[in-house]
Amino acid sequence: MKKRSNDGSCAKLLLKKSSGHLKISLAIFLASITITGIIGLLYARQYFQYEKDFLENVAMRTITVERYFGNQSVRSVSFTDVSELTRILDKEFPSTKTTVIPVYRPNTGFTVDESPINLFAVERSHSFLVDLDDMLDNTAYSISQQPKTIGLEISVITEITDNGFVSGVLERVILNTELGASRNTPILSTQNFFPSMLEYPTFFVNMDTFHEIASIFLNREIVSMQDATDSGLISLQGIFVYVDDLRLVSAVASFLMEQDYSAAAPADAFDNFGETLSVAFMVFLLSSICLICMTTVNIILSFRSFYRVQQKDMGVLRYMGFGNKRIYKMYRKNLGIKFLQIMGVSALLIFMAGMILFSFGHWFVLAAFILSLAAFLCLLFIAISRFIIYSYVRQELLVLIRESKEFE
């Protein structure tokens, strides 16, 4: 143990014999791996953004169906189209999960505090269409900040005439509100929903809640949504076909158009985006590999020249009486210290960059980058110590002391 600690003090003395040249190389190496790491994080961030905006975006997998062009006429989709679309899609795409989602709305304005609002009904199981995990009963999900509860004012229909309807009393239904429905839901992108309508508060409720509201509105018990739509006072906002496999969205949309349905698929507009991102990712991957290779070669050559000029020092140590193994261990220890310093600084910088780029999210990416850095430096450490230091240390004394001058 004593000998070991003494050798450690000798290694420290050798470390004191610092080299400006090597310090510059180490600084360049540190900068290179840090920059590569940060560029990698930037690409990772871009990928996550792409994933969020496109791959995980429900709207990208959703086809909006609003019209039927068959039989030489045009009509809005109706309740019966829901089952028809389900039937033909199941038949045409049996191995792909497609979900036909009807979304309803009242045809007449409901108000809150006498101001108009937009109200839509979505099946609870299809909450994902508005970017929600679930939709509770008696709760209105809004896209903007609202009071904790709202009093939904419903004009109760007392009579339906040829010219319209007659309403009597105004009934108030108290609903809890929750913020969180997505403004980007395809429901708000249909042709019969104009952007100007977003000026009014917009709410989504589940179908059970809507049943109750519709029953009050129609002033009778409604049996089904077909029953409600048959009244003409409740209508389909649209039918939304959710396609589980993003790659098949266009094919499903084409098929629907062949079947005389209007089919708007936002994914069509971004056909080349994924390709562009793939190319960008490939460019990053190749440029990173090149950068890392160049940096690695540079640092290996720097260490090679550093240890080449240190041959005299190794020779002096051998002449003093240190054996090959002890000299190798001293130089390896000093190299380890340098690599630990590089890893510490680089990991800290990458961590800080990651904190800024990911805002405390995607910890695993940050951890993966730092672990990769550690693994890379470990490999480099082993390569340099085993193939460079050892190859110099084991040379003959006279070769060591005469091949180079003492390193200062």
Partner: protein, 200 residues
């Protein structure tokens, strides 16, 4: 009593025989090897010190005898202090840590350079450097000392001082010195001329 026995010692570099069947025994006391450049003086020291091993014949030393070899080159770290260089040598010899300070100071004072303890080696004069090299050797308490050109590049005063120190410290040891210069010691010494790879 230390001794170095050479028996039919032959060493060649390619076709050239540098040491040619040398048979000789060196005993305690000072022996100076003279000779022109390239006659094999340093090669002989290298072979005795074990740096060259691809010779034929025999080199016999007593197993108990410690050998120290001072090469012509300055084999210490110039930008470390005298103390740090001595520390490295001390650790290399695996001596007990607790005696280090005392032993290092004692050895340096033997060579008259104890005041230079904190000076960087590169600031030392030629004579002081030579003393530092020898002080580092003396730490090992050698029985046999090989010195290669200890007075090279020194002025007359420094040569005299260096030889006086060598004689004082190692007078009772086997001291084999290779030198171009005529060396003056106060006590009688053995002088051998080397020529054509042979001892004359």
């Amino acid at each position: 009593m230390a001794s170095i026995q050479l028996h039919q010692l032959t060493l060649s570099f390619g076709e050239k025989k540098v040491l040619d069947s040398i048979t000789h025994t060196f005993h305690d006391g000072i022996t100076v090897l003279h000779g022109n450049s390239g006659v094999g003086k340093t090669t002989l020291l290298h072979a005795i010190a074990g740096i060259y091993t691809d010779y034929t014949g025999e080199i016999l030393l007593q197993p108990k005898d410690r050998l120290a070899y001072c090469l012509q080159e300055d084999l210490f770290f110039s930008n470390l202090t005298v103390q740090e260089n001595m520390h490295l040598k001390y650790v290399a010899c695996e001596k007990p840590e607790e005696n280090e300070t005392e032993e290092v100071l004692e050895t340096l004072s033997l060579f008259g350079i104890e005041a230079l303890l904190t000076c960087k080696a590169k600031t030392l004069s030629g004579g002081e450097r030579q003393r530092l090299k020898m002080a580092m050797l003396a730490l090992t308490k050698p029985d046999i000392v090989l010195l290669d050109e200890p007075t090279a590049k020194l002025d007359d005063d420094n040569i005299a001082n260096t030889l006086a120190v060598i004689e004082r410290v190692w007078q009772d040891k086997l001291l084999l010195i290779v030198s171009h210069d005529k060396l003056s010691f106060s006590k009688p010494i053995t002088e051998i001329c080397m020529q054509g790879g042979k001892l004359q």
